[in-house]
């Protein structure tokens, strides 16, 4: 591939992703409304799709207020980190065999490393806001994300064992005969739960638990800085959905339709599942979440690893 082609792929991916993240505003609100027996945004444009435009414009033109008591530079940096780290993760996601920004041979590790960085934005944002609610949210967020980081990484190791590679294209290719969801169902469940916790979406939206902490770590944010957290969250959902599709559901693989279409459909299904979860589940308490993680998920994922390893060795003879 030429340099120009690379640049076009990068720009194309960036463009599509940001649009998807913005479009999710509409998708989520319409889907939630459907599940909650109400209409949702239906005024601006056909089916209310222009709400995306209206929301974006609103965010751009809102007063971008930095509280005088905040730690100014950290306060500004924090929202940038979340978007940057998620977007960087997308660099290793194989959308199709051709469309991939960087097919690193440590792709999976890179993804895990980048999603770990996301926790900085929460901690720094909450800390720099100098607000008690933000601080509580940041502390909750830090411990939640660090804990679930562990299970997320461990849950993927089974897949790595079976593939023998960290490279995401290899992982997809290894699923030609059978998706990893069949071989690694436990890993899928743990990965997805950890993914929800990573993106701090309901039921794991504990860092921003609205009824408890007002808006948690981003209570003090407004304007486009808030918008960055907002977009970051949607990008996060897209990322986890894309990774789930890639690692467990054969990525772009599938008959008849073009690869990108398969990838898109699979990813979108998981995005909808994210939204459905938000519509249906209450939020556990912070310590219950931690307990669930360390006392249930960790042993489970370790067991999964053990069994996978044993079986893999046995098959190899």
């Amino acid at each position: 591939m030429t340099v120009m082609q690379h640049i076009w792929i990068v720009l194309g991916v960036l463009f599509v992703l940001l649009n998807i993240a913005a479009g999710l505003i509409w998708v989520e609100r319409r889907m939630l409304a459907m599940w909650q027996d109400r209409l949702g945004p239906n005024r601006a444009g056909p089916l209310g799709i222009l709400i995306v435009l209206a929301d974006t414009l609103k965010l751009f033109f809102k007063e971008d207020w930095i509280p005088p008591f905040a730690d100014k530079w950290v306060f500004i940096t924090a929202p940038a980190i979340v978007v940057a780290s998620v977007l960087l993760s997308f660099a290793v996601v194989p959308f199709t065999p051709q469309i991939i920004v960087a097919d690193l041979n440590i792709g999976l590790l890179f993804f895990l490393a980048m999603s770990s960085l996301g926790v900085y934005s929460i901690v720094l944002g909450g800390w720099a806001s100098n607000n008690k609610y933000s601080l509580l949210g940041a502390l909750r967020g830090a411990s939640q994300m660090i804990a679930y980081e562990v299970f997320m990484g461990l849950s993927l190791m089974g897949v790595v064992m079976l593939t023998g590679s960290f490279k995401l294209t290899d992982i997809v290719e290894a699923q030609r005969d059978m998706w990893f969801v069949v071989k690694q169902p436990v890993a899928l469940v743990v990965f997805f739960i950890a993914g929800i916790a990573e993106t701090h979406r309901l039921p794991f939206d504990i860092p921003e638990a609205e009824s408890e902490l007002v808006a948690g770590y981003h209570s003090e944010y407004s304007g486009m800085k808030f918008g960055m957290f907002f977009i970051g969250e949607y990008l996060g959902i897209t990322l986890i959905s894309a990774m789930t599709a890639t690692i467990f559901f054969g990525g772009w693989l599938g008959p008849f339709l073009p690869p990108w279409m398969w990838f898109f459909l699979k990813t979108f299904a998981f995005i909808l599942f994210f939204i459905l979860l938000r519509a249906s589940l209450p939020r556990p308490r912070y310590d219950q979440l931690m307990e669930y993680g360390w006392k249930f998920l960790l042993p489970l994922v370790l067991l999964n690893l053990l069994v996978t390893g044993a079986v893999a060795l046995w098959i190899r003879g």
Partner: protein, 582 residues
Amino acid sequence: MTVVSPIFQDLEKRFGVETFQLQITVDEILTLWLAKDRLKPVIQYLKNSIEQPYRMLYDLCGIDERDRAKKEILPTKDFTIVYHLFSFDRNNFIRLKVALEGSMPSMPSITSLFKNANWYEREVYDMFGIKFEGHPHLQRILMPLTWKGHPLRKEHPARATEMGPFKLFAELEDREQDALEFKPEEWGMERESEDADFMFLNIGPQHPGTHGVLRIVLQLDGEDIVDAVPEIGFHHRGAEKMGERQSWHTYIPYTDRVDYLGGVMNNLAYLLSVEKLAGIEVPDRVKVIRVMLCELFRINSHLVWFGTFAQDLGQLSPVFYMFTDREKVFDIIEAICGGRMHPNWFRIGGVAQDLPDGWDGLVRDFVNYFPRKLKEYSNMVLRNSIFKARTKGIGIYTLEEAIEWGVTGPGLRACGLEWDFRKKRPYSGYEMFDFDIPTAQNGDCFDRSIVRVEEMRQSLRIVEQCLNNMPAGSYKANHPLTTPPLKKHTMQDIETLITHFLNVSWGPVIPPGEAMSCIEATKGANSYYLTSDGNTSAYRVRIRTPSFPHMQMVPYISKGYTVSDLLSILGSVDYVLADIDR
């Protein structure tokens, strides 16, 4: 009361005949005047020593007697403090009154005897300026700390127009701001322990989890609640003071807004008192119509609670389903009353209008539709394991604690006491209906929830019985004091015309006396304790609301839990701010 009650004999035997002065009241509650130094021993005796004790301080209020007409019958010229005690074993109230002399009198505190006396005494202090000696923290509770004067004293103006224009100049604003600052030392709180600095977190007055303007200051160690101080009064609108200025009839709309989710149920509590005073017996049709609407409002109120409670715990969808069904109830209420949340539809001696044609169809549709939905909702919320994890074992209180703190309603029944004023002290014809009192045993957030959900089913049963057995007859009692007054004979003779004219323009004159009602409202026991001195408006309106003692208990039951649990507790207590602050 012609028969001398056994408890009165018992008291006279114990404390001597001269201690008590009996007052006869139309509500047939034993009313005894006693000197202020005898109050504590008497209450101590009633609470701890006698068989079948009076274990609940039901209400405590003051009365400014200085403007009262015909006060020569009273042992006081200045102030009265009224204590209502309740005995569950006897199913009986007792009313103790203490006469106080002087313009700023004082009174021994009974906080050492009843925990819930704390807020009640603060309220009396706030409203009348009466000091309670031995109170742990006698501070204003409903009015701002900077308020001048004590609103329920007769010399305090009732309208803002009597007080001169209000100006908020910068200095005053700073002063008001400073007064809002929470000083932990005032409440005997430490700022740090041996190994931790405490965080003081303001929940409210503007906070999504408090369901109204309520401020709770939390003393936190990490996320664990060490102590909490609720600050109420942001929703105080002087409902009791307004009762002294509105006519008996025009006060009805104000009652609607006390427990604003209870709608006409508030009217009922007020009117039962007025009707007792006036000696009005309402026809059966009125009773059944009132019961039906009250139960519809109970369903409504519980639906709001159910949805918002689930939402407090992060479940976003139920609230939409429940509000949709609440609209269906509102459609019925609107068809019957014309109004929705505050229909202001009950009248002295009856209701405003007869039921409209076709009401039965609407109600029947709902009765057929709702049980299936309710089942779906309780599956959706109550059987969810995360919901259970958030509510089971959280915010527990025992039956003794509940009674000590004055808890009534679903919160009491969740501790295992099968107590419902509709069954135990039937009013408005509840004795004619067949329904159960749901109870639960553990007294935690989850049990309070299942009690309420079951109550909706029972309310529906009552509504169905109303539907099938609606008596024929008039929607209004045949009595001269009903409002609007009867017009039957007005065109025949001048005397009736004059009476009619006066009763419309001034409103009815309710005979002197005092009476208290007690109904099982949506949140617990609601009472209007009315004093009439034979005028066109009440001399004193005391509203005993259930949310007030419930909120007072919140710090006690939330200690040791986390901030998230506080939201479960607040949700499960099911309060309405207007019901607390009045």
